[in-house]
Every structure is written in C-alpha cells, then in structure tokens.
Symmetry: C2
Subunit: 312 residues, 2 copies
C-alpha cells in the first residue's frame, strides 16, 4: 500500500515584513498577529519561475532522504494554478527536464488551490496503485506573488510563496486513511484571477471556511468511526489565523490540537499542510492526524493519516 515516506520544502529567503506592510495599509500589529497570523511573507525572486520552486523542493527531498534515488522516480505531480507560462505546457514536464528525471516518468499538473495537497495525496496514491508505480513525488508550488497586486490589502497581507515535495511509496510510515471531498462552484468567483490579478472576497471565503470545514471534519470522523479526541493533531490549511480560530472553536475540548504555524510563511496555498507535516510526521506521540484543505473553487478536502505500526 502506498503512503507518505517523507516531506521536504523550500521557502524563499526573500521575505516581506508584514508588520511594516500592515502599517502602510493602516492596520495594527495586533491585527496581523490575531487575524492574519503572519509576520513574514516569503516572496520568490523574479528570476525564479514555478518550475524552479518545484526543483528546489524536490532537491531538498533528495537531500533529506538519500534512499530516494532520482532514477527511481516513476511519477512527478505538481499541484499548481500558477504554473510556468500560459497554461501549456504543464509545469511538471518542464520540471522533469530541470530535475534530470528519466523520460519514462509520468508527469502532470493538478489544478487545485488550497485543497490541492489532500486531493493530490489520494490522486497520486491511486494512480500509482492503478499502474504499479513504486516511488513518486507530489509537489505543491503555487506562488501567488505572480498574481498579487501589492496595493490590494485583502490579498497582499495574506499569501506567502513556498513549495513542498512529498515522497509517496511502499512501506511508508504514514498510510492514507478515509477521506472526504467537496466542491461548490457557486462560489467560484470568491477567489479568482482576472486580468492577471488575484481577486478575493475575503468575507465570503471566511464564511465558507468557518461554516463548511468543521462539519466536514465531523463527517470524516464518523466515517472513520472515531471521535475528535482520538485524533492527535489537526493539520489544517493555514488560511489565516482568524479562519483557524473559527474552525478550532468548534472543537472546544481539543482546540489546542489544531496546529497554528504560519507566522513565517503566511497562507502558502497548497503548501501549507505539507509545511506543517514536514517536521511533525516524526513525532512519536502522533499516531493519527487529520488534514483538511479548503479554498479556491470553492473546494475542500479532509483526510485521516494513520501511522503504520508495522514500521515502528
């Protein structure tokens, strides 16, 4: 059975100081701390395109896991809605060449935003099992700085650039358990790019997340026949501190199990969940994790990750 063998990431060194930026918009440090949650927002340099962010994350994965050999990678999947160029070709093909991967690699992009990592795990796991692949890499790289208007208070304070790479393979420490998905295109214009500029209806996106996500997690718990207290940690998409507060309030007894860690990254779209997992999958005390992503589409996805006890 295919599962998660490891996660690595890339964060650009170049950062926006979000406190300084907030003052420019007439916002306070308190607002940044309590509502946004990010004091720093990493920004890729202009010379780097999305495929370069893919390369940096995958190279970090190779460095962290020497057992993963470049020549053994069967598939490379990139979750992005801000790829290189203008729609075609796909970024995964460009990255295949930059990474020096075999031409027998299967490569494609998945177009999803903040729900994309959860989807990507199950899509790639399923694809690998359907075609008999042994090792694959799931990359998230969706640099919103390409489409953010620095003068737009709603988006400029929120999003950071990042990329992550997740190694999927056999005999993994973490297995993919039950999952739930959802889509509501009636909210498709709440978060969209128009005339090359990101537009966000912050109120509507907040309402959507505050109303949809907690019940979705409850449904997942029901499917898994578990209660909220049976889960060691909730690694949700780090949309904003206000959204995380609104969702975790719905689970008052275990509120502190909702990981909040976006102070130095901001909302990194599909990279936020793997950024949380990167250093935490090794925690001995964690046996069950719920992940949940939600955003553009509107689209949402929640899943249970289960530690493989045979691997311990």
């Amino acid at each position: 059975m295919i599962g998660i063998k490891g996660v690595a990431s890339f964060l650009p060194e170049n950062c926006i100081d979000n406190i300084t930026q907030a003052l420019r918009f007439g916002e306070s440090e308190d607002f940044i701390q309590k509502k946004i949650g990010a004091r720093k927002l990493p920004r890729k340099t202009g010379g780097d395109d999305t495929s370069d962010l893919v390369v940096y994350a995958v190279e970090a994965l190779f460095k962290k896991y020497p057992a993963l050999k470049r020549e053994n990678i069967d598939a490379l999947v990139v979750v992005t809605q801000n790829g290189d160029g203008e729609g075609l070709p796909h970024t995964a093909a460009i990255a295949q060449e930059k990474l020096g991967l075999s031409t027998s690699v299967a490569a494609f992009d998945i177009s999803l935003g903040c729900s994309g990592y959860v989807y990507g795990l199950y899509v790639l796991k399923g694809f690998m099992e359907a075609v008999g692949f042994r090792n694959a890499v799931l990359v998230t790289a969706d640099p919103y700085s390409k489409v953010i208007d620095d003068g737009d208070r709603v988006t400029a304070l929120l999003f950071g650039d990042a990329s992550t790479a997740t190694w999927l393979g056999l005999d993994a420490e973490w297995e993919l358990g039950p999952s739930h998905f959802g889509t509501d295109g009636s909210g498709s214009d709440y978060l969209q790019v128009k005339e090359q500029r990101l537009q966000m209806n912050g109120r509507q996106v907040y309402n959507f997340a505050a109303l949809r996500v907690a019940p979705h997690i409850e449904e997942l718990l029901k499917t898994a026949n578990l209660s909220a207290g049976d889960i060691d940690a909730y690694c949700l998409h780090q949309g904003s501190m206000a959204i995380l507060e609104a969702i975790s309030r719905r689970f008052p007894e275990i509120k502190e199990r909702f990981v909040k860690d976006m102070c130095h990254t901001g909302n990194t779209v599909s990279s936020s969940i793997p950024l949380l997992l990167e250093d935490r999958l090794g925690l001995e005390e964690w046996n069950r994790i719920i992940i949940s992503g939600f955003g553009v589409g509107l689209s949402w996805a929640s899943a249970l990750l289960i530690k493989n006890r045979r691997k311990q």
Copy 2:
C-alpha cells in the same frame, strides 16, 4: 474494479471549411486530405467557455446512459490546458455548479494536452479505487480556438474544438490494462502558448511522434505479453494524417488496424481518443484496443483496454 462504462461527446456545429482555409494559405486540397486529414474544423461559438463544453459533453453522457444518475456522480475530472478564466479557479468547479452536481463531488482539473485522456483514465480510476468512489466522469475539453492565431498556417489548419465525457464505474464493459507513460520537458517549447497565442514547431512535434510512439507501443505490447496482431484496433491520438501514417507504417502487417478518423474534427487534443472510442466500444469483434496519446509537454501515454468477458 473500475473501468469504462461509456463515452459521449460534443462537437460544435459551427465549422471552418478547411479546404477553403487551405487555399487562403496557398495549400492544395490534396495536402489537406493526405497530410492534415481534416476537411472540417469545429469551432466553439464565442459565447461558450470551456466549462460550457464540459457541460454539453456530460449532458450528452446523461442522455446516452440513463443509468448514470446526476446525483450518483462522486467525481468530475476535467482534462484541459485552456480552462475558463486565468488559471484559477479550476474549470471542474465551475462545471460542478453548471451541471447541478452535488457539493459532495470531488472535482479537479488535470493539466495535460494530447496525452491527457490516457493519463486521465488511470488517474481517475486510481483515485476512485483509493477513496472508494463508484461513479465518476472524466471530461476532455481543450478548445485550442481560444489561443489559435487564424493567420498561423501551422496551427490554424490542424486543430478542432470538441469535448468528451467518459463514465468510469464498477462492472464496466471495458477494463484498463497495462499502461506506459513518458515525459520529455526538453521539448516543452515545441508546443506552447506565448502572449495568448499557440506556437507550434510542427517539424519537431512530427519527429517526436514519429520516433517515440511506435517503440512505446512495442514496449506496452511486451509488458502485456502480446504481439501487435493480438490487438483488434489501435486508437491513437489523431494528431494529423501525416503523423498517423508515420506511426502505422511501423506496423506494416496490421497497418489497417490503426483507426484514422479526423476528417470532420481535426486534431481535438485530449478529445481525439474518446471521440474514436465513443461509437466503437460496442463493436462485438473488438476485445483488445491500444490507445496512445502524445503531444504537448512533451508527454506521451499508451494503454491497453480489455473487454470484460464476464459482462458479455
């Protein structure tokens, strides 16, 4: 096991007369017939966006297969590199709403071109099996008319608009057998959109297809432990008549089993293979089909479809 239960399609009524268009470029009817292969090129009307093409194909699927109920669809996947809008949101979410599908539908786009249908089948089958879905629809809708410069002889004579919808589910008449995939990003600029205009290096794309595809099919036959003569039909991406001729020449004894049917469609990108399958999956004498798609990326994919004898 998840397989193919049916295929339906949408072809815009509005068509370009490719003979007339050829004369404008100083090309002969003979050239159109023998090298291009398409006398007509369907063109979507300006009022229809990609998500509308998705809707038309899925509605055609509902009409053709009354057993497929709207409320039973678990996932909607759209293969496109020319979706609605500018990258985000994904077209599948917009189509979820236009089709009135449940908000519990899993929906995403796959960014791939002419290899996209073969990939899409295995990605969606795998995803469904990984998460326990029973019914899903794979849509291809990549209207190149959105990015074609009518004055560009290389692309204007070649591409037609179309969309298709494939029902994947349990107890299907056709099962998905062995598959092979490939990617070579060193040719990523042979077919790309720049400044909202499709650019194609026709010679390089032809060489790639003429050289790569036949050996790829041979590899697949080897994996399946079959010889070329064991396959009833070869349904390849209808890139151009010249490409189909070059590939089929490599199989001289069974050359006539390569289906050539693009006269009224042109090269419809990821829709070409399902357009071939739509009316042929019911042929009694067909038990094994090889499908193969190749193009933008560069990317290629070949697979064996096997008739489920228990269903006969």
